[in-house]
Symmetry: C2
Subunit: 471 residues, 2 copies
């Protein structure tokens, strides 16, 4: 019997690549074409056939590839043939297009059928007026559940949680637990759960029993004996980033959510957290580049508006750098080689500063960098900046010498390079640390400050040294 549990000795023979990516792409293209054909023909049966053989997430992917007009046609044609789960997979413009064109009753039914967490996510995407109209169509109990979830702050554990769960008192035995679960009708009670919550008479969690342990334990034993005490719990108002951090750090699969009085009101499962974790690093990436959304389905007007704000701020810093240059216009007039070389110093400072800043922003986000090790990291960055500044100074000094045959000019640019790289390294680490201490998201605000510093110092050091030494 034991080989049932152990896998056979694996083969280590090399396996040829299966061209899976190419196949996937071709298949997707074909499905898209079939979908467009069905929409053009107004063929509801063909549409249903396409949907039936695909996972809701794949249907959602196809819908994202359609344009707004096609999405609306699809909504009108498909109606309730569109699974609720497909709507739950969508967001932004594609979802709005569908919801606008779908009969309100269909949307309300879909929201009613989804798990609470997915339903809340869908409702969040709608505007308040739509939310209200959809909620008004739901059964009272369901509506109250959803309304109370929506009453929690955005991005909180309360919004992420689902409400169906299995909770039992600690004196129940394994046998009682199983008998109870078996006694439920098939369409009653929770699905996709991984733990049984053990609660006290006030419905406060005192432990959890993972299902695999229930299955491996004899009937007569009490849940108390096999539970993991001190379960990891989240409060309804806790930020989803905290939740994601703990899930990731402690390798959680699911965890309970409690209200202010400590009562169990829901559970969060890791599949919802996976999205949050992916989003979190992505948000940092986007924020550092000055974009608020990676959503390629956003309308042009919205994209332009959000990106313009960032560009305008950066225009301010560019103009500031220009005023530094204008301080030295007489110097440049005497020696135009300075104008040729000056962007090098500023640009290298910008690159070095961005390197340090990016590492610092991530290390703060993952909580690897904190007040406890900040000084060690600062010292290290200073060393790295000095070393790289010195190395680059040599390279740029030689290039300048070969180009302009002026040893003093070469010395000036080398010195300016060291100065700017050290300043860049320090700005790259201090700016995020200070912003974090001030409770400002370092990802959003750091790069403007860092590039301002590296531009201003870069031009000032190079042109200033030139004015001092060369003229």
């Amino acid at each position: 019997m034991s080989e049932i549990l152990t896998s056979p000795t694996p083969e280590t023979a090399p396996v040829e690549p299966d061209g899976r990516d190419e196949d996937d792409r071709a298949q997707r293209a074909q499905q898209l074409q079939q979908l467009r054909q069905a929409l053009e023909d107004g063929d509801r049966e063909a549409l249903r056939a396409i949907f039936d053989e695909l996972h809701p997430a794949d249907v959602a992917d196809l819908i994202e590839l359609l344009n707004a007009e096609e999405r609306k046609r699809l909504a009108r044609l498909a109606g309730d043939a569109l699974e609720p789960e497909v709507l739950a997979e969508l967001e932004g413009a594609p979802l709005e297009n569908l919801v606008e064109a779908l009969p309100e009753g269909v949307v309300a039914e879909a929201v009613g059928e989804l798990d609470t967490d997915d339903a809340v996510q869908l409702l969040e995407e709608l505007d308040e007026e739509e939310q209200r109209r959809i909620l008004a169509r739901m059964a009272r109990k369901r509506r109250e559940e959803l309304e109370s979830s929506l009453a929690y702050p955005e991005d909180s554990a309360g919004r992420l949680m689902r409400r169906d769960l299995v909770a039992m008192p600690e004196f129940w035995t394994v046998g009682q637990a199983i008998d109870f679960l078996r006694s439920l009708d098939e369409d009653e009670g929770p699905e996709e759960f991984y733990d049984i919550f053990i609660v006290d008479p006030h419905f406060r969690p005192v432990g959890t029993v993972p299902l695999w342990r229930v299955l491996r334990t004899r009937r007569h034993r009490a849940l108390r004996e096999i539970m993991d005490p001190d379960p990891q719990l989240f409060r309804v108002d806790q930020d989803q980033e905290d939740v994601a951090y703990d899930f990731s750090k402690y390798h959680l699969i699911s965890a309970g959510v409690v209200d202010a009085s400590g009562r169990l009101v829901g559970r969060i499962t890791v599949d919802d957290i996976v999205d949050v974790i992916g989003e979190e690093a992505e948000e940092d990436l986007l924020a550092l580049a000055g974009v608020s959304e990676a959503d390629i389905n956003q309308p042009v007007g919205e994209i332009t508006r959000t990106r313009f704000v960032w560009l305008l701020v950066n225009l301010g810093t560019a103009i500031l750098a220009s005023t530094v240059i204008s301080l030295f216009d007489a110097t440049i007039e005497q020696m135009v080689a300075l104008a040729v070389l000056m962007p090098i110093v500023a640009s290298m400072g910008g690159n070095a500063g961005t390197q340090t800043m990016t590492v610092a922003v991530r290390a703060l986000a993952t909580r690897e960098l904190s007040a406890l090790n900040a000084w060690r990291v600062v010292r290290k960055e200073l060393m790295v900046s000095l070393l790289n500044g010195a190395l680059l100074a040599v390279v740029v000094g030689i290039v300048t010498l070969l180009w302009f045959h002026d040893p003093m000019l070469s010395a000036v640019i080398a010195m300016a390079m060291v100065v700017n790289l050290v300043v860049a390294g320090l700005a790259g680490i201090f700016v995020p640390l200070v912003l974090d201490r001030l409770d400002i998201d370092p990802a959003v605000a750091s790069s403007v400050f860092v590039t301002t510093v590296t531009d201003v110092v870069g031009f000032f050091a190079f042109l200033g040294l030139a004015a001092l030494i060369l003229l």
Copy 2:
């Protein structure tokens, strides 16, 4: 009985912030101090007491905060008081420091006790010589398992998987399944599993039954009747990014891994994937900034070396931009205001290009952008660039007019701005698309190309137009 399954109506009363972050920080600082004290005193019991009350992940965090000397002292003092799970949570320099100082037998024992996936991850961090010595100390069966896992390509499903799993034939009943699981000794057979794999006589998976469904089904029913057919499977040689993509897209908790002949050889659980997903967006972020590692525990020499390469490449592009400026040195000599203003055009192009490029790199990574919608996205980016170029041209034109009182100069910079922002937008979208098509990671290579384009075009457009129009 039903209230056991449904949570009570939640309270929506506001909950005061609990100062959790501050508390955490203070607590961590205190633990660190206790740990340092214990190390200084050489107090093994105190050390053990600190470890005992913490989760292995928290112990690992503390160890990361120590310096190399302290880590070695800790290894010598703690010996086998250090839980294997703590080692599994560490990587890079902190792990190396410990392994160097720990007796080889202790490391071997730790590797022996860990789940296969964690053991492989730990071994991966060691150099080959160390790996060999540790493996030589293991029992034959365990050694062979680990060696065959290590034979799979790096970052493949084969390395991520654990080998203990529960597989049963489809004709077994729920009752048989439970009885079998109960019959296992407590220290025998798999833990932390969420599904039963249903396999054919050749050990090829034909379905999965989630444990919650086993618990909700009566004893006499066959597993065949309640299994999910067509289980999501991964091949041992599949890249972990593919695995992570599917886990995230299809909301998987666990999935089987099969060898080239389709036999089940292991399983991957979502908690290992959570790390991969977090890392993936982070890798893009770091690659775009020209850093290979966000590891703040890396030694100075390594950090300097990897960052220097990137800076050197960027020095090349900066020099290229300078040669463009040098083409116009006569023009600048006649009108030094050009030198003052020219960084503005180049820098705004760089910022706009980075925005577009960042979105494109992420959209490619998340597979939202592909050949199927590339043209739509390109058209959209072109529109956004034109709009933002026009808006910024107006702003910069007015600023220049107020500053230099020269309408023609103002017109030149405005025109150059539009040109460079459009080129930046196009470079920002085409460079990642082309690199992706050539199977080069767009995150690693895009920004050098994009900034080269925006620098060269920025200087060329502004100075060229100035030479044409103003002189």
